[in-house]
């Protein structure tokens, strides 16, 4: 048990280090002298000298990385050029918003995707299966930023039912928070729902052929109980593991969704940072996103290991 977690950690740590090297190297992609770029419009020689000194730009690149990494490990990801706030604090402010959006999107995706997948597997080869597959493929093919724009056009502009943009914390005004977030969460959840539907379908098709399902049927268990209690419970594990893997996709999708609905989250932070050349923020967001993905995958792997006795016994 412990040895599995240790081994799994032994993979996660070098991965994180490589991510940090990559994120650090990003700033070397900047054309020209980074100090000049970071100094902004007024190319004050004193400011440039200060930046060179602060970021150790005169030192060899390995030393620069070591300084940068040491600071990051101490929670110092630099200062935002735009707001003069520490990058980590800025990310900490925006993250809860994106987490709320992502959680709502996951709920919506599960509510749509899982039942659709079960239905499609149970009714394999029928019209229902066919339609569900077409809808899922369409959900995967539709650009979610366009879906968002079309929904704003229909629901906000034409029908006037929901606000087109804005954000309200659920702790201040829960109802308003729900109203502003439901449409973005739906947009973000669509492709996730489609992926979940396809995976639920194939996982269900796999377990429906299993002996224990046949036995349950032979015992005269009602079909609905067979599907839910015997088949679905066994198919659920791979489905939940998969959703952990989709976390990164969700973060990426949030970049666009937050942009369309002007939600002040993690995704909007990186886009705004790109346009204001706030490179420290861009690096911070990429690093945090990747660390989040690695952590969630690690947790998912360990949980999968804990709840699945078959894997446990092979180790």
């Amino acid at each position: 048990m412990l040895s599995y977690i240790v081994r799994r950690l032994a993979i996660a740590v070098p991965t994180l280090i490589l991510v940090s090297i990559f994120v650090f190297t990003l700033q070397k992609l900047l054309p020209g002298d980074p100090a000049l770029v970071m100094a902004g419009e007024d190319r004050d020689p004193a400011a440039i000298a200060f930046i060179r000194e602060k970021y150790h730009l005169n030192e060899p690149i390995l030393i620069q990385y070591a300084y940068w990494m040491k600071a990051v490990l101490q929670g110092d990801m630099g200062i935002s050029l735009r707001t003069n706030q520490p990058v980590l604090g800025l990310i900490g402010d925006k993250l809860p918003v994106t987490i709320q959006l992502a959680l709502m999107a996951i709920v919506i995706a599960f509510v749509i995707g899982v039942p659709a997948g079960i239905l499609s597997a149970v009714k394999k080869g029928t019209m229902i299966d066919y339609v569900a597959n077409i809808v899922a493929l369409s959900g995967l093919s539709v650009p979610n930023f366009w879906l968002g724009i079309m929904l704003i056009l229909l629901v906000s502009v034409n029908l006037g039912w929901l606000p087109a943009s804005g954000y309200e914390s659920p702790f201040v005004d829960p109802l308003r928070s729900l109203k502003t977030m439901i449409m973005p969460a739906f947009v973000l959840g669509t492709s996730l729902a489609a992926t979940l539907m396809r995976h639920t379908r194939s996982a269900m098709l796999g377990v429906m052929k299993a002996d224990y399902v046949r036995t349950a049927r032979a015992k005269g268990v009602r079909e609905l109980a067979v599907i839910i209690k015997h088949a679905f419970r066994n198919a659920l594990l791979p489905i939940v593991t998969l959703s952990a893997l989709l976390f990164g996709e969700l973060l990426g999708g949030a970049v666009l969704t937050e942009q369309i609905f002007t939600i002040p989250g993690f995704g909007k932070l990186i886009v705004d940072a790109v346009f204001t050349r706030d490179y420290a923020v861009v690096q911070g967001v990429v690093l945090c996103a990747a660390a989040g993905v690695i952590l969630i995958n690690l947790v998912a792997d360990v949980l999968y290991f804990l709840v699945n006795p078959r894997i446990r016994s092979t180790l």
């Binding site: 991965t15 502009v157 990164g248």
Partner: protein, 292 residues
Amino acid sequence: MSATSDALLPVAGTYRTGSRAWRKLRTNKSALFGFTIVTFFIVLALLAPILPIDDPAATSWSAVRKAPSLDHLMGTDEIGRDIFSRMIWGARASLIAGVISVVMAVSIGVPFGLVAGYFGGWIDQGISRITDALLAMPFLILAVALAAFLGPSLTNAMIAIGLSAMPIFIRLTRGQVLSVKTDDYVEGARAIGLTDLAIILRYILPNVFAPVLVQATLTIATAIILEAALSFLGLGQQPPAPSWGSMLNVAKNFLTQAPWMAWWPGAAIFLVVLGFNLLGDGLRDALDPRET
């Protein structure tokens, strides 16, 4: 590859399954539908310079934000440009970006995957960790960050998309190599003293071909959405050059006055992506040896 050397050893399955796969693909209605959509857009993009359409960059102050009509089939945009002609020219940016970035991802990813899978050991460890690290960075966030540091342009967007898609191909190829590496014909090739390079090229690569083709088709779909997304964010194709993503970016500011500006580019992205997805799914079914 000479005929005599082929006769010496049994060849990996892919060539023989070729005609069977093709037959299967032809009878798959949804794959054919996907193929038709994709072909339609490719032809449209190729013919753009000779089609009798308006100049996609010609502005007209007397035709600002006009609804679709016989003069302008899809209406006009905020500075009076013909949306129909911008849609056709925009197909070029989308298709080129989709295809080139995937070609880039495949041509870097497949060799790395081959090397990692074939040689194993510390080479594999190294390449696999780099792949893990690249995969840990969300696709779009990585692409946005790369586009930010490289500077916004269609070329840089393609580089960003290609780099973000590359790890998928490394991992896929590596897995495929591991599954055939110990097969009899590979062992046989090694026994008669073929070099590693010859074994990889002649006996391993053909096995990698089918899954890579399927994945590439599906990744073109993702890459097209990603290019549109980057252009939508202002990090891809730069104005005034037409691209579906940047057209949507402008359109979202005129939703109440000119909603048609937003209809077409999104519908086109949806159709092309659906086409590639249908084709990719069809190819997967046709090339899957388990489903005979």
